[in-house]
Symmetry: C2
Subunit: 225 residues, 2 copies
């Protein structure tokens, strides 16, 4: 029902809440969507009038349950498209996000259901992100940890990466970061938080910021001790 713009705002609010910072701020959403704070402030008030966002002036914003439903619907479309583009058409990790960013607004639920069926009802997308089901419910996800909060001297399995940008995805591909691969954490540099890992036999140093975009679990799926 919402327009392309509204859908992108709602998704941005959802993603902010459910990853990292926690609170969605006017400035944060404006930056994420590359629009002015003024435009964001106006739009948030419109979304509030529509009952999709809880909002009090100067106090911050959060999705209503209806807004969250819409967010999950869009995430479902986005992630199913990314899955399709990679699994069926063979696009690369760095090519899918921008396509999905547009397709997510032009696809009926009917069509998304068909694609999901064609793909065999996957629970996670090619970045390891959970795909909401037909009823917009998220699958149970195993406990995962970012590479920043992990114990030194152990091996882990990469279970999710955040597709923040094409460039990041290209970088991941280049250094060998891919889903289900094993990484050994050698060291975390005390002075800047960089994480030194071993992957495919190569030793690689990843900045703290980028390490925060890589999530891992225990190789056998057990809890991290």
């Amino acid at each position: 029902m919402p327009t392309v713009s509204k859908e992108d705002y709602i998704k941005a609010i959802y993603n902010t809440k459910n990853s990292g910072n926690g609170t969605a701020t006017t400035s944060g959403i404006a930056e994420k969507l590359d629009v002015s704070k003024a435009a964001t402030s106006e739009m948030v008030q419109k979304l509030s009038d529509l009952g999709l966002v809880d909002y009090e002036k100067y106090k911050g914003m959060s999705l209503t349950s209806e807004g969250e439903r819409v967010a999950l619907q869009i995430l479902r479309r986005h992630r199913i498209w990314e899955m399709f583009l990679i699994e069926v058409l063979g696009l690369s990790w760095s090519e899918v996000h921008d396509e999905a960013e547009r397709l997510e607004h032009s696809t009926s639920d009917f069509l998304i259901d068909k694609i999901e069926e064609f793909l065999g009802f996957p629970k996670f997308d090619p970045h390891g992100s959970p795909i909401p089901n037909k009823n917009f419910e998220l699958p149970d996800a195993p406990l995962i940890y970012s590479l920043n909060e992990v114990s030194i001297g152990f091996s882990y399995k990469i279970s999710r990466v955040l597709d923040k940008s094409n460039e990041l995805m290209k970088y991941f591909t280049k250094i060998g970061v891919a889903l289900h691969k094993e990484v050994f954490v050698k060291e975390i540099l005390s002075f800047d938080g960089s994480v030194v890992i071993q992957i495919d036999g190569n030793e690689i140093t990843i900045s703290q910021k980028t390490a925060g975009y890589i999530f891992v679990c225990m190789p056998e799926g057990g809890a991290i001790g």
Copy 2:
């Protein structure tokens, strides 16, 4: 480059020129796109300023060669999507057009090329319409005739239908009209131009208007005598 609206206007002008009436009029485009004549008049002037349409006030409109290039690009996207939706996802003839009508504006040429490759570079879409290639050139098409201009007492092969609406497609499916099927033309009623055909062993009467949306060629591809 053009917006969704502009793309749909350009496509409407192209389709009017290349099927039936010939000349694109303000009223005709307005009706086809379900907008006011005023909106159409304004938009045509804008498209003229953009160099996509040749236009002189009160005199009518036609696409420039650049406009035609854009039209073929959009037709290419539309038809490849329809092919994909039917061949790969198994949607029905009546379900694909509306989806393609939206997807055609949200798909990069890069992605369309990938889908085309996945489909094996088809030359015609599921309605028998030609698919422009990567360079926006139409394939050579065999001579075809509408069911209105065909000789009585002969058999033909259905080689193209115009997907004017979902309802028309459902009707075609219901009465057995499908690509590559054989029809025997029994009679054309003198008083209203209805065409009486035999298809799948059933005798069916089709109105003159609807017959104009069905195109056939000789069963072996020869010329119609």
